[in-house]
Symmetry: C2
Subunit: 241 residues, 2 copies
Amino acid sequence: MSEVHGQERAAGSEKGRPTMRDALVEAAFRLFSERGFEQTTVDDIVSLAGVGRRSFFRYFPSKEAVVFPDHDGCLADMTAFLAEADPAGDPVEQVCDAARLVLRMYAANPAFSVGRYRLTKQVPNLRIHELSVVWRYERTLAGHLRSRYAARADGGLRADVIAAAVVAAHNYALRSWLRSGGEGDVGAAVDEALQLVVDTWGNGAAGSGSGSADEEVVVMVARRGTPMWRVVQGVEAALEG
Amino acid sequence: MSEVHGQERAAGSEKGRPTMRDALVEAAFRLFSERGFEQTTVDDIVSLAGVGRRSFFRYFPSKEAVVFPDHDGCLADMTAFLAEADPAGDPVEQVCDAARLVLRMYAANPAFSVGRYRLTKQVPNLRIHELSVVWRYERTLAGHLRSRYAARADGGLRADVIAAAVVAAHNYALRSWLRSGGEGDVGAAVDEALQLVVDTWGNGAAGSGSGSADEEVVVMVARRGTPMWRVVQGVEAALEG
């Protein structure tokens, strides 16, 4: 797992010298909580941060974007992480690990994450902006799976379905945690949720269609009550096949 | 499968007397193709359609919304279809059938659907609007699955993951068709894509966790090369268990 630079960026204004970007985020969130998101303008934010309007738009394309300041960095980390992933590894495990980078960013700053979740729920424009953020993560994961499944006839379909499943499982656990106000071990909850995807699609899963020749297994399915001689016959036929 | 009212709505301006809503959609698309989406204002649209500005906003909350005029109707059809679904049926098959309602709406008017797809690809705001449309379908499917999986400890997670998988599979096939300019049998392509989800999660799938007691099966997994006596031992142990 690569270093999670997003965490440092998220906590930058607390740990080190605040950058202009940090100052803009801080000013924006102070105003959002005081006046509400809709009632705050970009002019209000730059005025409180003591910078010019152009500086704002150098860092953020819109007022919505300042609410999700760390996603660009996290997406870059995810892309780098997947680019370095072991070509012999399980691609489903790899995209699950990549999704955990997003989780760590949220978990690094629970109060900020919970506050943002509540804000996002109240403002339709932010919800829509968040969907586009999630979509970019999903496409990044799908891109990795597509390249690994390039030899499969159903590779593109499988990649899209698994990427969507990973994002849904990750967000299921993350949102439960955010809804609870940041109570409990979100890392364990996300691990449990992602395990469903790994069990279903990973290299060890029945439906993965993977497995190298020297690990070949025989799976014999029989109804309870099947006579033993028929079970043996079935296994023998499979072993010969 | 319920009647697909969305189809009639989609083709309303061709089949019956055009409504004011139809006239607005037609005017909007004529202007979008002539001038581009960004260069067209709501004032331009109402002026060409010969109606007032208020009438536009009675039907559509934004200029983006007029690009997807049939999704509200389709979402209502989907909700009604799922509300009437057989409680004893396979919920995964049911949400796949519900997703096919969206497909039919697209397939009912290929030229319109392909034109809209090309427009949407060019305009970031439309792509974001489309994400929110897709999200509403996904939540509707997830809601149905949640109610059917209410007795399962992992019901909420499973519902979200399967709903995301259905949407991803549907959109994989739909987008391939739209990219091709509407060539080939999109119904068959979507059926094939959704089959992956049914095979993985449906009542007949290994991972579904369903199956009544009198259909109980024994699954025996052994590496190739396992001696037959050990296979028999394993099956016997399972049958006794």
